[in-house]
Symmetry: C2
Subunit: 448 residues, 2 copies
């Protein structure tokens, strides 16, 4: 993509309403624009990050055996009356009346709707298990939307729902999502910690939040340092097999959010050097809630004995739009974002230090074509801005690699690669630089 | 995908509320489920079609040089007051109040918001042209939602917006979208006809609807048969070059919707045998409206003379969710859907005629693995249903190819391929059948 054709409206000043670094950087780097309290447009650069996060979430849901579908944003009030949540949900639910005065709402979550869809289509234990998911915009009318996309009102979420005949089956579905979540966040460059959590308005007995550590997190969290070093289950994980040993291993260490924290157990179970008391950001939450919805909504299946019983359910959420902010919280410095390759808006920023100079333009065009041909996503700064402005811009938007091309280097037969993560620089012949970038980026994109 | 793990709730009866064949088939084939008047959930099979349509739209927008972003579904009323459309829009706009009694709305279109985003980021003619698009759910509170996804209330749309310094530039942007639309619909197996149209509430001077012919279409349309035979611009079209000759060629033939129809000209310009008076479905609509929004909303750019002037704009819509229905209207028979390969939910339906028979199961597993390995999307009917039910189901969901495997054929060393489009059947050795399917599907997916 040529920057001259792109739409990248950077802000010079940090907007005063942005309190945390991810919100500041997303605004300054032209990733988002506020269109109302807690409502954002995703400008082209931010949109690319959002899509990459979404793709990783999707790939890992598919790998775990979940089937994708899509429910609408607008729901009927009557559906929520069946479960009893219409009145219980409170003011966070955005309630709407259409032209015929029918009561509707902008879905804050989808347990009721998926239960209705399930009960209309499935009648027998023979058709179980089912594991369905969708990635859709939701709305929660927060009283104080803040922190940009981290706590917006309109937000993108992946939610999955499992349907099993008995608790053992439901536990297997839960385990699939548990492992999928560990993989999902790791692929984005995040170390996530599953923590026993309160089930809140979703309900149920068993629940884990997936938390990443960040100073700006809203939750106080406590865990064992050794949890952070556990190996992430590989792409060769057999999701049809027994995942319980993986879950047991992860849950054998102390880890709890504030509400579940037990100071005595924390101190007893963990050596002092391994105790982590920190702040965290919730990026996923999984629930096993049994028949909480299937019973009142009569989502029944017939068992082998011919008797009907309510289906066992769980639900599994990932905050897709929130993750864009969470990743920045984990990967940035004073100059800007530092995107991990798998979620970077582009892989390489190609910096032409003297646009208009025939030799420099020509070298840049060749490099641009060579990188794009190999699938390396390149943002080519072909504008007439001064070098200092170009460098600051590239640091701010935080592409993993900068490829810097100027007349002086070219005289010596070299261009420069700068790695954003650690600032390491290297001079190479243009062809060698392109080859190195292709190889490094392919390696970083390989799914382990 | 194994059917036993999939969620494909077919309906035995045609629901009485469905008047047109695409609505009937989408319900019967388990593609969609109604969740409110004009509001649908996209079940897994329908979702796959929707995603494929979306991908083709995206690829052709990108090819034409448009840059993707994403605007939110919920908009502020005040934005629409700036353009004067808040009061003018009427009851089709879904108006919402949040918990703070702020007036909001579910966006029926995005001219106001994109104009606001543009004016905040672009100040100079040097930064033009810009061509931005998004693919997002919209809501129009139709008084009579009908025809399933063809005229729903919550619907998915691609809308693009162009920003140019002068009318000549705006015309070039318009031409890019004109050509992109011809390509987009052709890739889905649709012959679209651009027709001069009224601009309606969007406004402006120049507008074309893209219409496909179908008996169930809502518009009466009139055109020259020779238009249907014009070559579609190829993938090698230079969108940076002069596209006017392509547009001139397409617009040199008579073509008009009801409102613009001139019976005298129709009869004068076209030989009787070439006159088509038919019904059509609008699948796209493009507008050049100049400064209709940029003037009241003060989206100004500075010209080379240092003077400010309102930017020249156009907007360009494709009905993404509507297209799923439109494609069925164009491709079906009494037994069900007949999906063109590029938008088919799966490419091949693998039919195991005797699930549980070791030899048949084994042959199916090998074929399934071989097809999936080559990227052929296969729905494997591994269920215990009887052959007649399996055949009817495959015909109903309309995958382009059926690969039928039974013990009798295997004794003779053959399996059967049935092509859904014309019912042609062929017996081949299993390996040869897989190879043929891979080759045929690759050929059908190649982008010309």
């Amino acid at each position: 993509m040529r920057l001259s054709r792109y739409f990248l409206p950077l802000l010079k000043e940090t907007p005063s309403e942005a309190q945390i670094v991810s919100h500041q950087l997303m605004l300054r780097a032209g990733m988002i624009r506020q269109e109302g309290a807690g409502i954002y447009a995703w400008l082209p650069l931010g949109f690319r990050v959002l899509k990459k996060i979404e793709r990783i979430v999707r790939e890992e849901q598919d790998r775990a055996g979940a089937v994708e579908m899509l429910m609408p944003t607008i729901q009927q009030a009557e559906l929520w009356r069946e479960s009893g949540r219409y009145d219980a949900y409170g003011k966070e639910m955005l309630r709407i009346k259409d032209r015929g005065e029918r009561e509707m709402l902008y879905g804050p979550t989808n347990e009721e709707m998926i239960t209705e869809i399930f009960r209309a289509g499935i009648r027998s234990y023979k058709d179980l298990p089912k594991l369905l998911y969708h990635i859709q915009w939701k709305f929660r009318d927060e009283i104080r939307p803040r922190f940009g996309v981290m706590r917006g009102r309109e937000f993108l979420m992946k939610d999955a729902y499992s349907f099993d005949f008995d608790e053992a089956g439901a536990r297997r579905s839960y385990n699939r999502m548990f492992v999928a979540y560990l993989r999902t966040f790791a692929r984005m460059g995040l170390t996530s910690i599953p923590m026993r959590a309160e089930t809140g308005p979703i309900g149920g007995d068993l629940s884990h939040e997936f938390i990443i550590l960040a100073d700006t997190g809203e939750s106080a969290v406590y865990c064992d340092r050794r949890l952070l070093e556990l190996p992430v289950p590989g792409a060769d994980t057999d999701f049809e097999g027994d995942l319980q040993p993986i879950i047991d291993r992860y849950t054998s260490y102390y880890a709890a959010t504030d509400e579940k924290h037990d100071a005595a157990a924390f101190e007893k179970q963990i050596a002092e050097a391994d105790r982590i008391a920190a702040r965290g950001i919730e990026v996923g939450h999984i629930f096993y809630f049994g028949t909480k919805y299937s019973e009142p909504m009569r989502a029944h299946v017939t068992g082998p004995d011919g008797k009907e019983r309510p289906v066992e359910m769980g639900s599994y959420g990932v905050g897709v739009s929130r993750l864009a902010g969470a990743i920045i919280e984990a990967h940035h410095d004073e100059a800007g974002c530092k995107w991990p390759v798998p979620v970077a808006p582009f892989h390489v920023g190609l910096v032409n230090l003297k646009a208009g100079d025939a030799g420099t333009d020509d070298a840049c065009e060749r490099l641009y074509a060579a990188l794009e041909r190999e699938g390396v996503e390149t943002l080519y700064d072909d504008t007439g801005a001064r070098p200092g402005e170009k460098f600051a811009r590239m640091d701010l938007i935080g592409l993993p690699y900068q490829l810097i091309v100027g007349p002086r280097g070219l005289e010596n037969g070299v261009v420069e690669i700068k790695r954003r993560a650690d600032g390491a620089r290297e001079e190479l012949a243009p062809e060698a630089a392109a080859e190195k970038l292709v190889a490094d980026i392919r390696a970083a994109l390989a799914v382990a």
